[in-house]
């Protein structure tokens, strides 16, 4: 299983360190060799006795180059002048050396630093850097010059890479014992440590910026870079190793040269094939993983999109807070609820959403500090703070979540203003109700438990029964009942009835604290909750006064009955005893007139006549008075009466009494009324008699009986074209004994209309009149419609 591709930062870091390491090592090599020249220490110059030495110039250039690379690391772009200067120096030294080789002259630069006349390696020019080294110096110097120039970086890398290639060939020459690669023609051969130092230096240069230019292919995080890193070492080392082994075999005479080549080619082929197979496999695996990653990324993205959508549409404000109480994420509801934009909130301390008194109370990140327990919602009254500084009641439930980025607390916040208002309203209403019940003084309102023991007591109960709450709470309610009721088990019976029927009402004597009794109306209602009996409410009213009043009424009714009986007896007496003398007076007047007809002069006869007339009139008066009093005394028995038929009968009687009179009667059909037939007959008779009487002087009397309907009532009327009356006196019309005409003109007692009014009023109707003197009169009466029984 191949390693996971390194993240860019770690690879870059490693290459960066390699570059730093190379700079230091190269500078150290240069310094050591210089010291070797200065103090003529052979081992420092040649490493191994008999090997070619590193020339002083080369050593100096390596020291300078190492320092320049290190400075570039430290000073970055700021040190570009120094780096470029050093590069120029190195390149110049390389160029001068090369020039000497090309044009075969000595500039004296070779032994400028150190004397190389006793040289140990038999080279042609003492102190002169070998040709390849000179090329290397020139190239690496140019690489430094180009390093920090704009658009020169690639060129710088090309120089470094060429240098590396050059010295790799030199190194292989050492390895295979071939001279040519490191000792060209007239030139001195290149020293081993020079070769290694240059390889290191060019590597250091190449990896100066591992993420840029050529090296980004190796240092990058892409699949290619990964492959390059994997294949780099085997690709360099294996052919070298194979070549070396092949050569060893030839030298040892194990096989011929031809066989050696064949072997080498075969091995290389096998190695390349293996490399290709391995690369292909790697690529496949990586590709597979990449596809998986892409797919899982898509799933992840979908999940995240869904999560976001859910979060945004959540009815509650959702706030995610990190361990430092900073807001990490909020949803749309949060913005609306608190009045902030989400950009304002993210990164802020979550306490900004709470009034100051809740700061530090950890209501929004409570669970982070208190372990993974979901905070119970609504355990306290918590308020939120809007951007405009207004507060509103909230309910919070939070829970911690372990994520890749550490523990986060997710809080769901709900605005409970409305719920709280509703709850407050219910509470206030319950409180009002309690105060109301407690304050009721006209009724004793108490609550009993299911066994009948008192659990609540109001002001009315105290007023009615005398006990204060603390004196009676916990006692059985039977103590309000008289001893005889308790003995026969009435209190228990009432509770039983209330339990079974839900309610019981009773009226009877109850006992106060001081032992006095009062007449009470008691209603006991069972209080049930989900069918289970919780107790009883008991409402008691003091009806002593009402009972007293009822008894008073009974008593006065009885008295009234006696009085009525007396009145009846009185009326009876009046009917008999007052009429009798009148008749006797009248009779004897008649007897006197007849028996003493010779003794009495005409004037005496006239006197007697007048006495007789007066007695008759008085008899009529008594009769009418009796009628009026009868109207008040008789009970009304209503039934449907045909007023038209009744009026017709009455007018027939009138016409028969005076057949000589010229009179026209007009009676409307279909006049029905709900009335007492006897009494309504008296009404119509009175009105028709009046009309008949007051039209007696008309040559042609006209009497009309009809009805008028309005929205509110039905009125019946009797209209005549007779004498009429002055409307100024209309108020007197219905009063007893009041007459608007003289007895001389129209005889009468003045009781008829009073009787009519009394009858109509007793029916619940009203009566009124309209008239004009000399032009007739109309008397109206209304009767209430049939009451819906």
């Amino acid at each position: 299983m191949p390693d996971l591709p390194h993240t860019q930062s770690s690879i870059t870091h490693a290459f960066h360190h390699l570059s730093k390491f190379a700079s230091v090592v190269v500078a150290a090599i240069g310094l050591l060799v210089l010291l070797g020249w200065a103090f003529n220490i052979a081992v420092l110059k040649t490493v191994l006795p008999g090997l070619v030495s590193m020339k002083a110039n080369t050593a100096l250039c390596l020291l300078l180059s190492g320092v320049a690379l290190r400075l570039d690391h430290i000073l970055l772009k700021r040190g570009w002048v120094i780096v470029m200067t050093i590069g120029a120096v190195v390149a110049t030294i390389g160029a001068l050396t090369l020039t000497q080789y090309l044009f075969i002259f000595d500039t004296g630069v070779d032994q400028l630093l150190a004397d190389d006349s006793e040289r140990s390696d038999q080279t042609s020019f003492p102190g002169r850097s070998p040709f390849i080294t000179a090329v290397g110096l020139l190239l690496i110097g140019l690489a430094f010059v180009c390093l920090n120039i704009r658009r020169g970086f690639l060129l710088s890398q090309a120089f470094s890479l060429t240098t590396a290639g050059l010295f790799l060939v030199a190194l292989l020459g050492y390895l295979f014992g071939v001279r040519a690669p490191y000792a060209t023609g007239v030139s001195n051969p290149v020293a081993v440590h020079t070769t290694l130092a240059f390889l290191l230096l060019s590597a250091g240069m190449l990896f100066r910026y591992p993420d840029r230019g050529l090296m980004s292919v190796v240092g990058g995080e892409g699949m290619g870079a990964h492959m390059a890193r994997q294949l780099f070492l085997p690709a360099i080392c294996l052919p070298v190793l194979l070549g070396w082994i092949t050569m060893l075999g030839q030298h040892a005479g194990v096989y011929e040269m031809e066989f050696g080549h064949t072997l080498y080619a075969s091995a290389t082929l096998a190695m390349l094939a293996a490399g290709v197979w391995w690369s292909a496999r790697q690529l496949d695996r990586i590709d597979e993983r990449r596809i998986q990653a892409v797919e899982s990324d898509a799933v992840h993205k979908r999940t995240e999109a869904m999560f976001r959508a859910l979060l945004e549409t959540a009815p509650e404000a959702v706030i995610i807070v990190n361990r430092e109480s900073r807001i990490v994420l909020v949803n749309a509801r949060t913005e609306r609820l608190f009045g902030y934009g989400r950009k304002e909130l993210v990164g802020k301390d979550v306490d900004c959403l709470l009034p100051e008194r809740f700061h530090g109370s950890h209501v929004l990140h409570y669970t982070i500090d208190n372990g993974p327990a979901t905070r119970p919602a609504g355990s306290d009254e918590i308020y939120g703070l809007r951007k405009d500084d207004s507060e509103f009641p909230i309910e919070i439930s939070s829970s911690p979540h372990q994520t890749q980025d550490g523990v986060l607390a997710m809080s769901a916040i709900r605005d409970i203003t409305e719920r709280k208002q509703a709850a407050d309203a219910v509470r206030a209403s319950a409180e009002r109700f309690r105060l109301m019940v407690e304050g009721v003084t006209d009724y004793a309102i108490l609550v009993l438990d299911p066994e009948g023991y008192i659990v609540s007591w109001n002001a009315g109960a105290q007023r009615l029964k005398g006990y204060r709450a603390e004196e009676i709470l916990g006692y059985h309610f039977s103590r309000f009942y008289p001893a005889e009721d308790v003995q026969c088990g009435k209190p228990e019976h009432e509770l039983k009835v209330a339990t079974v029927e839900g309610r019981v009402e009773d009226e009877g004597w109850r006992v106060r604290q001081d032992g006095s009794r009062f007449w009470a109306n008691v209603i006991i209602t069972a209080i049930r909750e989900k069918g289970e009996l919780r107790g009883f409410s008991k409402v008691t009213r003091d009806l002593t006064e009402r009972k007293q009043a009822e008894e008073d009424i009974k008593e006065s009714n009885a008295k009234l009955k006696v009085i009525n009986q007396e009145l009846e007896a009185f009326s009876y007496s009046v009917a008999h005893d007052l009429q009798s003398p009148l008749r006797i007076i009248n009779g004897y007047c008649q007897a006197l007139a007849e028996d003493c007809v010779e003794k009495l002069d005409p004037q005496a006869q006239d006197h007697l006549k007048r006495i007789q007339i007066a007695t008759v009139r008085m008899g009529q008066l008594i009769d009418n008075l009796l009628k009026l009093s009868n109207v008040s005394r008789t009970t009304i028995r209503k039934s449907q009466v045909d007023l038209g038929a009744l009026a017709q009968g009455l007018t027939d009687e009138l016409k028969q009494a005076e057949p000589a009179r010229e009179a026209e009667f007009q009676i409307q059909d279909g006049m029905f009324a709900e009335a007492d037939p006897q009494l309504i007959r008296i009404v119509l008779a009175n009105l028709l008699e009046n009309a008949w009487k007051f039209t007696s002087r008309q040559p042609r009397a006209r009497i009309e009986v009809g009805l008028l309907k309005s929205e509110t009532e039905t009125a019946y009327f009797v209209r005549d074209n007779g004498e009429g009356f002055d409307m100024a006196y209309v108020d007197n019309l219905f009063a007893p004994f009041q007459r608007l005409h003289s007895t001389r003109d129209f005889p009468g007692s003045g009781i008829g209309l009073a009787t009519v009014q009394r009858i109509i009023l007793r029916h619940g109707g009203r009566v009124w009149a309209e008239a004009e003197k000399g032009k007739g009169a109309s008397v109206y009466f209304s009767l209430p419609p049939k009451s819906p029984v």
Partner: protein, 152 residues
């Protein structure tokens, strides 16, 4: 007609005199027996008390009965008459001052044959009494005597 007796039950002497006068005025010449209260009326009719020994087979052809009387009032007398076989069918005219509905109703309930209110005007009273006499004594057939009702 001479054999037919009118029994007048009237406590007030003035009324008694006026009634007799009215009868005479109307030419009713029959014998008028006057008793002054209910007790006396019953004694007369049943031949008891002051009238012990009276021939009770001779019954009045018409009884004019006042209602309001001392001791036993008119209605009570009427009730007793109607209860006895001998007097069950005697024509009884109530002649009184009252025309109270109650009295009229009770009168008929107890079985009177006629109810006449005495008018105050003597002329009318005279006419009424005359009419009564004419009707009950002249036009009306008297009921058969006691016990001889053929199978009623």
């Amino acid at each position: 007609m001479g054999a037919k007796i009118i029994l007048l039950v009237e406590d007030n002497p003035d009324d008694e005199a006026l009634t007799i006068r009215a009868l005479k005025k109307s030419r009713v010449t029959n014998e008028v027996v006057v008793v002054h209260d209910g007790v006396e009326a019953l004694e007369y009719l049943f031949g008891t008390g002051a009238y012990r020994g009276r021939d009770i087979s001779k019954m009045p052809a018409l009884i004019m009965l006042d209602l309001k009387m001392p001791k036993i009032d008119g209605l009570e007398v009427l009730e007793k008459l109607r209860r006895e076989e001998s007097t069950k069918y005697l024509p009884v005219v109530i002649l009184t001052s009252s025309k109270e509905e109650y009295d009229v109703a009770r009168g008929y309930q107890k079985g009177c044959n006629s109810y006449v209110r005495k008018p105050i005007d003597f002329k009318h009273f005279s006419d009424a009494v005359g009419d009564l006499g004419m009707y009950w004594l002249l036009h009306n057939e008297s009921p058969p005597l006691t016990g001889s009702l053929p199978g009623l």
